[in-house]
Symmetry: C2
Subunit: 98 residues, 2 copies
Amino acid sequence: MCYNYFLNIFNLSSMKMAREKDRKLIFDKQGLEAFAIQLKKIRNNKGFTQNQLAFESGISISQIARIETARINPTLSTIFVLSRTMDVSLPELFNFQI
Amino acid sequence: MCYNYFLNIFNLSSMKMAREKDRKLIFDKQGLEAFAIQLKKIRNNKGFTQNQLAFESGISISQIARIETARINPTLSTIFVLSRTMDVSLPELFNFQI
DNA sequence: TTCAATTATAGCACATGTGCTATAATTATT
DNA sequence: AATAATTATAGCACATGTGCTATAATTGAA
């Protein structure tokens, strides 16, 4: 029997057992906090207030605050927009350890 | 009157006018497609199938396929988990132009 | 100390990310 | 050509990201 067949069977059964009632999605607090620090640092270095960044990027002020306090899990598109608005490269924005 | 007061007023009124009925969230197709290509390239270079990556990362196979075809907007935590699982740095994962 | 500017928090409605299950399509191997 | 392996797609239920509005808290300037 091939490797992947067993992989599938094992995957299904173990996941089901772990998912009986409440399903929690991934929330990488450590990674999000590292990102938050980097984003805030770059925003300040580029001379934006949260309000200015919100206005120029089209992303709401409350959302920027949530991201910079690692309280939510932003999507990639949101990050791409912030990156373009502040004219910062993605490798620089993600230059931290997780 | 200070700058930010007008900023707030202008922000509120223009956003409301643009948001009369249906609200569309940001979906940066260009950025997501670039990311998808980079993710798939690195996954192949590291020798993972989608199935293997799903199993080791705990992220569903369908989600990995959706990400690699730029059909959805993944969250940062999802990306951080994939980065750790494949042992690839974030700057490398985001080494593309948007 | 007071006030202005900035950032953080709260809660609601809506859009959508995610897991699951199944199936279809494509690619690789025999 | 047939089969196996891999990837893509579909749809549903649930979790949560996002915009909006308002307010609270913190920080900076006067």
